[in-house]
Amino acid sequence: MELILIILLGMLYAAGVYLILRRSMVKLLLGIMLLGGGTNILIFLLGGIVKGKPPVIAEEAKLFQDVFADPIPQALILTAIVISFALTAFAIVLLKRVYALVNSDDLDDLNTPEEEDI
């Protein structure tokens, strides 16, 4: 299971970096999203994957005697997903507006010279 996740993680990071290095704005956005997904899986993986050991303690016990599934990485990932959802939503709207104004998907076209309307 870990090995599959590691390979998936590497693919997500590689694809994300590749897409960010392209000139298209949509690919930039997709790249950022893939990198975010890769990061989430990284946190999940590094939290330690344990099968069928919920972090619930027996009533009489004071300490965990056994390996247990760590709930914190999942809480972190959940937070990160919610945040990246908001950021992605904003980014999509922004890119759509820019596309409507500039009429191009190429990041190199985003260099309108100084205008004095600030």
């Binding site: 990198l35 990284l42 946190i43 993986l45 904003f90 820019v98 100084e114 205008e115 004095e116 600030i118």
Partner: protein, 502 residues
């Protein structure tokens, strides 16, 4: 010591923002709430600093979950001072925004978002949990995205794309670093991390994690290879927004770097050299960029990059004197950079342009305003006894004792080009006669007296604070002396968070 009041500077901005959302589209009410909110925030921040100064490090366990299990908020001297400076800068920008931001922008929620930004900044300074720091960073960047795009002009949106892409990328690197850090230590509490990171067997993995943090914070604070989003976006939003960004946002990156590298990853030889190379190149590239720009705000953007290098260099040397210099420079820089962008906004109101070639004759027409601007510009250059002068002494002294001659050279180049560009700006904007072929579009003259005061007052407030920092350097030196002691010996911080037993 546990004190629930340390969250007050965060909550005041949350409440202001919520009240302003209730008063949606009522711009006068929003302006009043904003000024009141930032004023109260400043008072609370002064109180917080006084408390921390007399009682030592204060902590607050969220929902009473004990550290290291819950999220903990910590106010040490560094955090409390930065919260105070943020509040003063926020107050000034709030005054300036009341006239300097167009009504259309206010109708679409300029003020609530501005307060969410200040809330995020204060939260980032006060948190003692690395993942919580990430969340506050996200609060900051999403508010700054909205502020940057508000108004929707073409250049603004183009700048925002670059700004957004780089900042989301920085957050991703930061989060990757946090993920690895959690994987190798099993903790997120910064004080707990500082204890546990030393017990990690695989120290090379720790070094790699530190690189992720350098990358993430480096993009945020605009250091050498990662700075280019800043000059291509900071000249686009309204001046009030640019002032908040220029004064505070890059400094959060520097703060995070100081915090993480003093508490969690104590810089080793490799990190120090890396940071030093970054610092030298940042200063050189930033000053080169500033020399060739004729638009005032583009020039200021490059000066931000240049002066970030001074602070990074201080962190890279990581001795007591160097940290004192870096911290002093940080405090001075927040005040002065905010003020510079406000001055740029005022010049725009006076003349309708920010291009130095089209400007001129301001001194003849407005001698008093020019005098205040001159004081600020001299502080930035560091003419003794103004505020930019004192930190440089410490930086030079540290660089000489530790044999970092490249940094000494970079400091001289950086200071000298700052002097050159500021002198050029002074000559072009204030002393030169107004060019004949340019029609002056003065938006300032027809304004009623009250509104004129709203535009000039914040510049005077910040100028007074800068003068205070410069002329009362003794007190500031004592403060940074205490802070750098806390940064080098983190045991009071760790004890305050984890309890005396650890």
């Amino acid at each position: 010591m546990i004190d629930n009041h340390i969250l007050a500077p965060v909550l005041i901005h949350l409440f202001s923002a919520v009240l302003q959302l209730i008063a949606w589209r009522k711009t006068v009410t929003q302006r009043i709430i904003s000024i009141l909110g930032t004023f109260l925030g400043t008072l609370l921040a002064i109180r917080l600093l006084a408390d921390v100064y007399s009682k030592g490090v204060l902590t607050l366990n969220a929902s009473n979950w004990e550290a290291p299990f819950g999220i903990v908020f910590v106010a040490d001297l560094l955090s409390a001072t930065l919260v105070l400076l943020t509040s003063i800068a926020g107050l000034a920008v709030s005054f300036f925004s009341a006239t300097g931001v167009s009504r259309q922008r206010m109708l679409y929620g300029y003020f609530p978002i501005f307060h969410f930004l200040l809330m995020g900044l204060n939260g980032a300074f006060l948190t003692g949990d690395i993942f919580n720091l990430y969340v506050w960073f996200e609060v900051i960047i999403i508010s700054s995205f909205v502020l940057m795009t508000l108004g929707g002009r073409k250049t603004q949106l183009e700048g925002a794309v670059k700004y957004m892409a780089m900042n989301i990328l920085a957050s991703t690197f930061f989060l990757t670093g946090i993920g690895i850090l959690y994987g190798i230590t099993g903790s997120l509490n910064m004080a707990d991390l500082s204890v546990k990171i030393q017990q990690v067997q695989n120290q090379s993995l720790v070094g790699i994690t530190a690189c992720f943090f350098i990358l993430g914070f480096g993009i945020k604070s605009a250091v050498f290879p990662l700075y280019y989003w800043l000059p291509s976006s900071y000249h686009t939003p309204p001046s009030a927004v640019a002032a908040t960004f220029g004064g505070l946002l890059t400094k959060v990156g520097v703060y995070a770097m100081i915090r993480v590298f003093s508490l969690i990853f104590i810089p080793d030889e490799f990190t120090r050299n890396l940071l030093m190379i970054i610092a030298v190149l940042t200063i050189v590239i930033g000053s080169m960029g500033a020399v060739i720009k004729t638009n005032i705000r583009r020039m200021f953007s490059y000066l931000i990059v240049c002066h970030i290098g001074f602070m990074i260099g201080g962190i890279a040397m990581f001795s007591k004197i160097a940290l004192m210099g870096a911290l002093f420079y940080l405090f001075h820089d927040i005040m002065v950079k905010t003020n510079m962008f406000l001055i740029a906004g005022l010049i725009r109101q006076l003349r309708g342009t920010m291009d130095m070639k089209k400007l001129g004759g301001l001194y003849a027409q407005y001698p008093l305003i020019s005098l205040v601007c001159a004081l600020v510009l001299f502080s930035l250059v560091g003419i003794p006894p103004l505020s930019g002068f004192w930190p440089k002494i410490y930086l030079f002294q540290a660089a000489f004792t530790l044999d970092h001659y490249a940094f000494v050279a970079a400091l001289i180049i950086g200071s000298f080009t700052t002097l050159y560009v500021i002198a050029k700006m002074w000559a072009e904007v204030f002393w030169k006669d107004s060019p004949d072929d340019v029609t002056v579009e003065d938006k300032f003259e027809p304004l009623p007296m009250f509104r004129k005061i709203l535009l000039v007052l914040p510049i005077c407030i910040l100028c007074l604070v800068t003068l205070f920092i410069g002329l009362n350097a003794e007190a500031i030196v004592q403060l940074v002396d205490k802070i750098s002691t806390q940064l080098l010996d983190t045991s009071p911080y760790v004890e305050a968070v984890l309890g005396k037993t650890k």
